[in-house]
Symmetry: C2
Subunit: 248 residues, 2 copies
């Protein structure tokens, strides 16, 4: 599917030009970074989902150091885009916790975190999704894949962006037939209890702050130091998280 075709099909779903543009930009970035399961193929998936194409996310609490948003039926992509734009337009003096209720689907969390880092802010972002990961001992799915993205700006213009799903494979890979549903377990093999613990902790963190529907929690802060260039030097050419063409 081309970006133009995607745009047309999103408009046909009732999204307006701006919203369709937000989604296409996200899908194209996912394709460029090799995250196909979050790329343009998602348009077809969206055509099977029910959502309110006219809904707009609302910022319902704004205080120094804290915001609460409500997706209000809009696609999570649009809620995160609105939060990123509002944060870049008016960055916190020091730091801010942002809770997003009813925020799904959220796509590639590193994409939103990277935009904040490109704007000079440190960002930590997590989001829940339908329960798909079971306990390492087995049983029903208990948590979403619950990715955690960490983005740190750099004076050399190359922020470090880690974006790690707690699943051994992605739901997108399952959707694309590249992985079997039973492979969608916490990553780590013999140490899968660690990824499960992170998935459970993030699940309940978001649940406690954003409520029972999938949501997101973002922490943004102004950096006081510039550790990325020194870190890259120490890593001496190893590919680091978020660098082009590679995992995590």
């Amino acid at each position: 599917m081309t970006a133009e075709e995607a745009r047309g099909r999103l408009l046909a779903l009732g999204l307006d030009e701006r919203a369709a543009g937000v989604l296409v930009a996200h899908f194209e970035d996912a394709e460029r970074r090799g995250k196909r399961g979050h790329g343009l193929s998602r348009v077809e998936w969206l055509e099977t989902q029910s959502f309110d194409a006219a809904a707009e996310p609302r910022r319902v609490v704004v205080e120094e150091g804290f915001e609460r948003w409500d997706g209000a039926g809009a696609l999570g992509y649009l809620t995160l885009d609105a939060i990123v734009e509002a944060t870049l337009a008016s960055p916190p003096a020091r730091g801010c916790v942002v809770v997003a209720e009813r925020c799904f689907p959220t796509g590639v969390l590193g994409y939103w975190a990277r935009r904040l880092a490109a704007g000079g802010l440190v960002a930590v972002l997590t989001a829940t999704s339908p329960r798909r990961l079971p306990h390492p001992d087995g049983g029903p799915p208990l948590t979403g894949t619950n990715p955690l993205a960490l983005a740190v700006p750099s004076s050399d213009g190359r922020p470090l962006v880690a974006d790690v799903s707690m699943g051994a494979v992605t739901h997108g890979a399952v959707l694309a037939g590249e992985a079997r549903p039973e492979e969608l377990v916490p990553f780590g093999g013999e140490q899968a209890h660690k990824a499960f613990a992170l998935a459970a902790g993030l699940e309940l963190l978001v649940g406690a702050l954003a409520g029972p529907e999938p949501g997101a929690v973002l922490v943004v802060a102004r950096p006081e130091h510039d550790p990325v260039p020194v870190f890259r030097e120490l890593a001496a050419g190893c590919r680091l998280p978020g660098d082009s063409s590679g995992p995590a």
Copy 2:
């Protein structure tokens, strides 16, 4: 070593009664939870470290939604204890980002996060430590083991506390001769790039906010929902992170 012996040896290092009590309470909790590497044996290790036994952590910035602390040469245990006590004494209206500069060693992060959850607050805590984990492709150590603790209160009195180090083994296990130094790599086996990405992201998050010396970053927030009991029911008796006698 008994708790009484530990207390005596800590006092002999120049710590006062209160400080020694903070450390012993932490070490005893670590022992009870099977985290021996962070238990009373650390007293012997502390006797080999240089630190200012009279130093007191200072809160250098206090704003709505943001605090900055400086360990000021005190042991990280004491800085985290001071932050936990101050936060419980005056919890944030909504949420707060707390940066701790010069905060080492920090011990079991789940211990501090659990105390905040026991006081009704959601807590996310990470901390850096000397570089010990190499890139999965090899090379020099690039990051600390950089644990991430997530604690969520529960109306049933049993908070969920996830506390995950990004190392396949702990530095404490290496110190205790239970693991070889070369086993201290990012966890996850074939997917170690995920744990490395988290370790690197947390390393640079803390570095950007707290500076070049090991530090800590805490996010606390007031929960609006109570997802833990439902989650425990769904997990139907599986041991969950932070439950007695088990990993993570």
